[in-house]
Symmetry: C2
Subunit: 445 residues, 2 copies
Amino acid sequence: MSLTIKLTTTPHIINLNLHPKHRTKIPAYSLGVRPKPIYHSNALISILYNNKQPRMSQASASGSVIKSSLIEPDGGVVVDVIVPECERGSKTLEAESLPKVRLARIDVEWVHVISEGWASPLKGFMRENEYLQSLHFNSLRMENGTVVNMSLPIVLAIDDETKENIGSAKDVGLVGPDGDLLAILRSTEIYKHNKEERIARTWGTTAPGLPYVEEFITPAGNWLIGGDLEVLKPIKYNDGLDHFRLSPQQLRKEFDRRQADAVFAFQLRNPVHNGHALLMNDTRRRLLELGYKNPILLLHPLGGFTKADDVPLAVRMEQHSKVLEDGVLDPETTVVAIFPSPMHYAGPTEVQWHAKARINAGANFYIVGRDPAGMGHPTEKRDLYDPDHGKKVLSMAPGLEKLNVLPFRVAAYDTVAKKMAFFDPSRSKDFLFISGTKVGTISGR
Amino acid sequence: MSLTIKLTTTPHIINLNLHPKHRTKIPAYSLGVRPKPIYHSNALISILYNNKQPRMSQASASGSVIKSSLIEPDGGVVVDVIVPECERGSKTLEAESLPKVRLARIDVEWVHVISEGWASPLKGFMRENEYLQSLHFNSLRMENGTVVNMSLPIVLAIDDETKENIGSAKDVGLVGPDGDLLAILRSTEIYKHNKEERIARTWGTTAPGLPYVEEFITPAGNWLIGGDLEVLKPIKYNDGLDHFRLSPQQLRKEFDRRQADAVFAFQLRNPVHNGHALLMNDTRRRLLELGYKNPILLLHPLGGFTKADDVPLAVRMEQHSKVLEDGVLDPETTVVAIFPSPMHYAGPTEVQWHAKARINAGANFYIVGRDPAGMGHPTEKRDLYDPDHGKKVLSMAPGLEKLNVLPFRVAAYDTVAKKMAFFDPSRSKDFLFISGTKVGTISGR
């Protein structure tokens, strides 16, 4: 099944179905031509995304249903489990009558992620069969035999008391940290939360000091509860950044509005710098060379939990906006939005999640850096993951065959050319790395 | 591609191609009818496998090539990397000239396993791409896009000194613990051996005291070397049990000789008892009920490394023979052979390997017990794995879709019926478990 949208039948719509040949996997080396760095000098244009009506009506009277050219979401449909407004009253009443599960802050972030379909085809917190497949195979087999990627266990932990309180009830109400009813979890299944095994298989270590583990797994209950979500209303944070939190559906609409025939996603959790910008502009140039007419960049900073020494989201968003205002990236071909997922810092396991979620938002190209989702080993003086494993694992991951993985090329300041350029190891002394420390700091991890 | 064998065109050969419908997955519940226990009272028949000529010539002058009805091996062909006798002299000379890698005892067991094709399509020790896929996905994607199961990393560790000694050489000679040249490893690739990550992702714990880890990983080098094997001659142990070590090819020939139209494998690493026998006989009865004409049991004790407190192989083999001599199992429909793999005690991860290897030997049904390949947690008072996870993971594992997984039904002595029977929880006090301890001891783990 494909996403379909209604469009008026004007000639430029034909573009949406162009270049089917490009939807096959393009080997990374074919994109490996050495480019010139590109600087855009566009006039200052303010924030790119606005909530104005799309230029093409989605349900024009004269419109016919045509297929979007965007990559198909996992499972064929973007999951949306937000209760329609007309049913909110009755569902809220029902939720009030159910046994309650009190959510931690991290659980609310996952409710948000699931509710908008980032984890499609997942419709709720994982039941045991999904959990085991995620843990052992980093993927789920669907009923029709197709395989979708699912590398992180998306689970809800409860303690003994909550389990006892639920008893044999099949549906439960989910209550936010502030006591507000957020969702119903239906047809639940409760199973053991073997924390040691979950941690070992997700992170490849059980060393103390993993941020997500310390903050959210160690203090969590010894049971997991899976089921189908019905979220009573869209999750909002009221931090002045909610307008950046576009759902996969909203992003797909925006890409279609712009008549994107390729979408390349760049995940980051740190400030953007000119090295990133060079890479992103160069990627667009290479996609144009390959015959795409309008490749759009999804600049997609992660907005959920990050560790204490990462730069806070609000600062990063301001900095991203500045880069666009300064014309370093072209707002006409860039969409900046917040990816609402929390960080696991689980390296090769997590980068699959980062890529898979972007497929659901319409991206068919994914830029992967050195040591994606990596960090220092919590107890040893080394990187926790081999810095090359992320892109290797990503390029072989089940369910991601349809995604084009673009390895990140390292950029630095070329003191001879006096500008940012891709690092040339044959004259390494000519290059200055921005942080002045190691190459790793220039990655998108 | 399928295995083919030459057979004379006598009527009974037609049986080999019967029942294609049974090669689809049969849901476990359809086999879940409650049976009567069956005791065979066959006359004492001595050891079942002998090296006599198969009754059907494999290359009769009048023979035509027909397809075997046995399940296809992973990758289509059973790998055989044992050097033909006529090339042994020249290859041995070549091996002598190469840089050497000294093998540990466990490495020789893996050379044996790979050389005969148990790990098909693997042709040697894993290179990094195979290692990463095994570690993260428990499976390998082939060039044609098909997926085969591969849950355990089959790797060869070397230390810094050996790595330095190899230098840039692409081929190396493998030397056994006694100094004899065993094999050549071709087109090698050396990569880092991150022991912590390997252990965590394979066992789901890094707790000290895992037998395979303590014995073979902790003392091993910090590098892994992958490549294609050429084994100079078949691996033999000269322990009086080599005649039980049938290769996948030999087993397939034997199953074809017996005109098996279903092969059900039972892995065990402990003595067989009447509870097992009841189960195996009952499985055959159920397969006959399903329309198979001649289901053959592969009773397949594991012969490689086991932990110190497991019963030694020689004792187990003697006991298995006794069970057959006593007529508890029917030698006409049973093949006893040794599976040469070492044990990891890695539970749900390892049971996939146990099942996958038996596909390569022609088995299309696999009996899985409670807590397969499990053990007690090395530092905590509990099972290391959830006893139900093994069969759940096995039934969902990528690349094993073609295998019929048969859950083990627990048998015990029924003091009312005065015989072994499947445990009936509604009258649990009537049953005596053989060991007098817990149900776990009756499993095939």
